[in-house]
């Protein structure tokens, strides 16, 4: 099998078992859970169920965890790698669509989007405004139209995996990597996916962090789109 599903997990004891079981039942792809130094029972659950996992001894953040997965995929010779959130927001049923699209279109990255077509997604107005802001930011900086730049549901080919193995932002990586890939001439596409409400755990982005998030991502995206 040439496709690896990477599931970054930090304190996801409430959902990790369901997410992995759902994936195993839905898709034939290989998977690896990256336990990002969880302090709850996530690691125990992974062990008890004999799931495939990499256990980071300390918390590296979402970027460090995902990069671990991309490096693993590269070493093991996978042709494509897909990010799937451990909190159950991403529906494994859409995996097939992402795989089919990247293979047919020859793009380097395909992003699962909530906004490219109408979906059942109901986010808060504030969150939607933030996403719209990043849409215009990326369009202004890189000339690409990505309707859902904060979506983590994405598949990449081996060329992009190599890029990510060399550099992947530690925190809030989604928007920044699009700016970087667009600058380097990689082809990025979006397809419609459905996203569920968070099944458990806590969001990594609290309202208090939002301002820092927006400013930091704007700065880093600006840097990546120029240099």
């Amino acid at each position: 099998m040439d496709i690896l599903v990477i599931i970054p997990a930090y304190n996801e004891e409430a959902t990790i078992k369901k997410t992995v079981m759902n994936l195993i039942q839905t898709c034939p792809y290989d998977y690896i859970v990256i336990n990002d130094g969880s302090t709850d029972r996530t690691l125990d659950i992974l062990k008890e169920n004999r799931f495939h996992y990499l256990d980071l001894p300390v918390n590296l953040g979402i970027g460090g965890a995902m990069q671990t997965g991309y490096r693993y995929a590269l070493r093991k010779g996978y042709q494509y790698a897909i990010q799937l959130d451990a909190d159950g927001q991403h529906d494994p049923k859409d995996l097939e669509k992402l795989v089919a699209e990247i293979k047919q279109s020859g793009c380097d990255m395909v992003i699962g989007s909530r906004f490219v077509e109408k979906t059942n997604y109901k986010g808060s107005p504030f969150r939607r405004m933030g996403i719209l802001y990043f849409y215009y930011l990326l369009y202004f900086l890189s000339g690409v139209k990505i309707t859902d730049p904060t979506s983590g549901y994405r598949i990449v080919n081996r060329n992009v995996m190599r890029e990510f193995a060399n550099y992947y932002p530690v925190d809030y990586p989604e928007v920044e990597v699009i700016a970087k890939l667009a600058k380097k001439g990689y082809k990025i596409k979006e397809i419609k996916v459905e996203m569920n409400a968070r099944q458990g755990g806590r969001s990594s982005i609290t309202p208090l962090k939002s301002l820092y998030y927006m400013t930091k991502v704007t700065f880093t995206s600006l840097i990546r789109s120029i240099f």
Binding site: L54, L60, G64, Y72, V170
Partner: protein
Amino acid sequence: MNKVQLITIMFASLFLIQVIYYSTRNKLRDKQAFLWFLLAVIGLFIAIFLEPLNKVAAVLGVSYMPTLIFTIAFLVVLNALIYQSITLSDHQEKIKTLVQEIAYIKHELQNDQRKEEKDESC
């Protein structure tokens, strides 16, 4: 030599002794030790040659020499801080890579164990 200059030389000397002490105790190493040693020597040099520096400042059109020294010192300290941040970022990156490698090796070991268990049960 007036009182102020004597006190300045004393503080600059103490700073130099402090840097040498940390270097000999291996608390400061290699490039870091050299950087601070250089800064301490420059500080002492300025303290000793206050008068000639006053003249240089006058030539440059600076009426109050300490302003010039504070500006230069501020820029030097700012650069030293940036250098520290670069070193810190470099170390963070190396630690991250090490953590990832440990996770990978643990995974490989676990796979071997699972294979052995499977073989034994067969």
